[in-house]
């Protein structure tokens, strides 16, 4: 029996129809809009002015706090404006508009394809390079990587887990990265492993990607011959189950340890990084290349041209869609991310972010919601919840605004994976209601902490 996480989970059809599409480079758009809020934490502060000429990889915004990250220009050209622009959800966000002129890179960035396997022993230097490279977690949460790689004193990391599960249906960008840039991912893994000072690193991949597992194993064998720094890295084939790519679920699957409510992975001795983050670490440390592009899967049954694209950060969605032949007729909904956790896009003029992993086109039949009926107390949602919560109860508490009880029932532990909604036979919009209640309770907890800190 293969390993997987112990409670909950569902088995949606994986629909990875773009799995055979090699990553192709999207031509640079004529204009990019680089948001200053591409990570969790404080938005970055712009450090360029209108009219400035910028090169690819030049920092255009600096961290706005401890938990924040650098943002770099993804193109070379002139800064046209800095101001509010509507993001994917239609909310205003400060964006730096850059009109593209040529493709001139910053000095010191290695744009060649040569593989650099040797890396420095100086962890401080590596961390600084990761920080200056604006590397954030590309698995979805976009948490600044340098913060995650500096565990608080007294906490010891025992294992690094590289997340190659890509458990969301349709998404294939991590899979293609593993196949096409396996060496870089492995070197990135070795770098993170060294920074954390751990002996063991595991690359967890779901068993619906046997080619990726075989490829990474082959790469590892070759790498071990090159340097002793690659010892201790292994690949683990995991049983396919959604949401295996969730941080806490992956730790449970790989280490059989469970993170307590309100705890962090480091509490059980684990640090989890995504495959794409490992690649970004490789680029930042070995090539001096900050995050200026990322792979985006463009897919959907109604989309005629499946693709995995290497997209410059800040590319307008319209440009990507036009490049691939325009908006499909049957599509009624575009989702940024996968079908389970992704968010519907309300503004196609918005631009991609570092963390944009996919654009998914769905038809009316695929997105239609069935009419909601009464809860029959079957408990399927509680069975499916990977965090061990009781969504049927949270739903009722949330609808009555009972925030104290919601907090007791640990609504703040919800990872918004959507398993409850997926499994509900009565079509109750469980996640929609719970997500809002979670935000409310988190706000109350934060306010309480802030009040306690003031005293």
């Amino acid at each position: 029996m293969k390993r997987t996480f112990s409670i909950g989970g569902v088995h949606p059809a994986d629909n990875k129809i773009s799995r055979e599409c090699a990553i192709q480079v999207l031509p640079t758009p004529p204009v990019v809009y680089i948001s200053v809020a591409q990570h969790i934490g404080a938005p970055a502060k712009p450090i360029v002015a209108v009219g400035d000429h910028v090169k690819v990889g030049q920092p255009v915004a600096e961290p706005g706090g401890f938990v924040s990250a650098y943002i770099h220009s993804s193109v070379s050209g002139t800064v046209k404006s800095i101001g509010p622009r509507k993001d994917l959800a239609g909310n205003m966000q400060t964006c730096i508009e850059i009109a593209v002129e040529g493709d001139e890179w910053m000095e010191g960035i290695d744009t060649s394809d040569t593989l650099v396997t040797e890396f420095s022993d100086d962890n401080k230097e590596i961390l600084e390079k990761i920080r200056l490279g604006g590397v954030v977690g590309l698995g979805g949460a976009t948490f600044p990587t340098h913060v995650k790689l500096s565990p608080p004193p007294g906490k010891k990391c025992e294992m690094l887990i590289i997340n190659g599960c890509e458990c969301e249906p349709y998404l294939t960008s991590d899979y293609r990265t593993l196949l096409e840039k396996g060496e870089q991912v492995v070197i990135g893994t070795a770098i993170i492993k060294q920074v954390l000072g751990v002996d063991k690193a595991t690359i967890g991949i779901e068993d619906n990607k046997p080619e990726a597992i075989a490829h990474i194993e082959k790469v590892l064998q070759e790498m071990r011959k090159v340097s002793s720094k690659f010892a201790g890295i292994s690949v683990m084939s995991l049983m396919k189950k959604y949401p295996e790519g969730g941080e806490k679920q992956l730790i449970d699957a790989v280490m059989h340890r469970q993170v307590a409510s309100g705890g962090l992975p480091i509490d059980v001795g684990a640090v989890v990084q995504n495959v794409a983050t490992a690649l970004a670490v490789y680029d930042a440390v070995q090539k001096n290349k900050p995050i200026v592009d990322n792979s985006v899967t463009v897919t959907g049954e109604c989309f005629p041209k499946q693709a995995n694209l290497l997209v410059r950060v800040g590319t307008p969605l319209n440009y990507i869609i036009d490049y691939l032949g325009g908006f499909p007729q049957d599509a009624v909904k575009v989702i940024s991310g996968g079908p389970m956790m992704g968010k519907a896009v309300s503004n196609l003029e918005a631009a991609t972010l570092k963390g944009t992993s996919a654009l998914l086109f769905l038809t009316a039949a695929q997105t239609a919601r069935k009419p909601e009926s009464n809860c029959i107390r079957c408990g399927k949602c509680a069975d499916a919840c990977p965090m061990g919560l009781e969504p049927f109860l949270l739903n009722r508490l949330a609808r009555n605004g009972m925030t104290e009880e919601l907090e007791k029932q640990a609504v703040q532990d919800c990872i918004e994976c959507g398993c409850c909604l997926y499994s509900c036979p009565a079509n109750i919009p469980l996640l929609d209601v719970i997500r809002q209640a979670k935000a409310q309770v988190m706000g109350i907890i934060r306010a309480r902490k802030a009040a306690a800190a003031q005293k």
Binding site: K86, A89, G90, N91, R369, P429, D432, R435
Partner: protein, 323 residues
């Protein structure tokens, strides 16, 4: 047989009597002393238990009123001044009269004014919708139209207008309890003074976007041009974050701002006559012309006064001129 029945009746009666005596003494012993005025106050309360006063219900309000040294911090929005007078009479306090309030929906983003840019097919709740994204129109500040305010209202004073897609307040039923204000995630609904005979002015928009963006999203948006603030002779309009706001304490209901607003974002309601925009505009133009003339005259006078001492050393002459 007959004696058994008599016995049973006798024993049960005796037992009942005994327990009654016990209960009586226990009740006497553990009696909770409660101010009788709490009951009296509760009787005059409306009994809606809506929580609009900030207390858990009418009894909690009565309890707090009896314990408080005065009634300055307490007001029953449902009962209004009448109930507060009765409460004050029972407790022997003095009560300041408060102007009656009413809920006002500050959004005029009807389907016509504010075209849809996308369709929302999620759970029909404004709170949920607001947590997901900016809404199904170009305006990120306006009414989301799912009716959270309608379900929050205990008095049936709110309803959704199917034509405009906006909530409508029934002023006769609205008690200004504030439940809708709390329910609205976009903070569109505000409690405002009802005004004399219900007449009041307000800016029916909360869009903080700059003029062109606001106008693009909704033809009835406040574009923050500031004409109303310049027109207002009572200093009642403040312009902040590209939105005008009418301060109801200062507003004299002259309706000049309403006539001047280029987008029709300022509304005046319950006025007996419809607004004659042209008449008001010409009145303002006339006033401005006079003010300009007066200013020009004053400037000329000041100039003359400045130049006069230079021209003639004697200070008597200018004085004569003024006379």
């Amino acid at each position: 047989m007959q004696s058994t029945i008599i016995w049973i009746i006798a024993i049960v009666a005796l037992l009942g009597l005994l327990l009654a005596v016990v209960l009586y003494f226990v009740a006497e012993q553990f009696k909770v002393e409660e101010d009788p005025r709490i009951d009296e106050v509760e009787k005059v309360m409306p009994g809606a238990n809506c929580g609009g006063c900030g207390f858990a219900g009418c009894r909690a309000f009565a309890d707090a009123a009896v314990k408080a040294p005065n009634l300055d911090n307490q007001f029953c929005p449902v009962g209004g001044n009448d109930v507060m007078k009765k409460v004050a009479a029972i407790l022997g306090y003095e009560v300041k009269e408060k102007a009656p309030m009413v809920a006002v929906v500050r959004c005029n983003g009807t389907c016509e004014n504010r075209p849809k840019t996308n369709d929302y097919d999620g759970y029909a709740s404004c709170r949920v919708k607001a947590a997901l994204y900016s809404g199904d129109t170009g305006c990120a500040f306006g009414c989301l139209g799912c009716g959270d305010c309608v379900s929050a209202c205990q008095f049936g004073a709110l309803s959704m207008d199917p034509v405009t897609g906006l909530p409508v307040v029934d002023e006769a039923k609205c008690t200004a309890c504030g439940a809708c204000v709390k329910a609205c995630p976009k903070a569109i609904i505000e409690l405002r003074n009802k005004g004399p005979r219900g007449m009041r002015m307000y800016v029916s928009c909360v869009n903080k976007d700059k003029g062109p963006a606001a106008k693009k999203a909704c033809s009835a948006a406040c574009i923050g041009c500031g004409i109303c603030a310049k027109t207002c002779t009572h200093d009642a309009i403040v312009l902040e974050n590209n939105v005008a706001y009418v301060d109801f304490a200062k507003c004299k209901l002259c309706r000049e701002c309403e006539a001047m607003c280029p987008t029709g974002a300022i509304h005046g309601v319950n006025f007996p006559k419809p607004l004659d925009k042209d008449a008001v505009k010409s009145r303002i133009a006339e006033r401005n012309r006079k003010a300009k003339e007066a200013a020009a005259a004053a400037a000329a006078a000041a100039k003359a006064a400045q130049e006069a001492p230079k021209a003639a050393q004697t200070p008597v002459e200018p004085e004569k001129k003024e006379e």
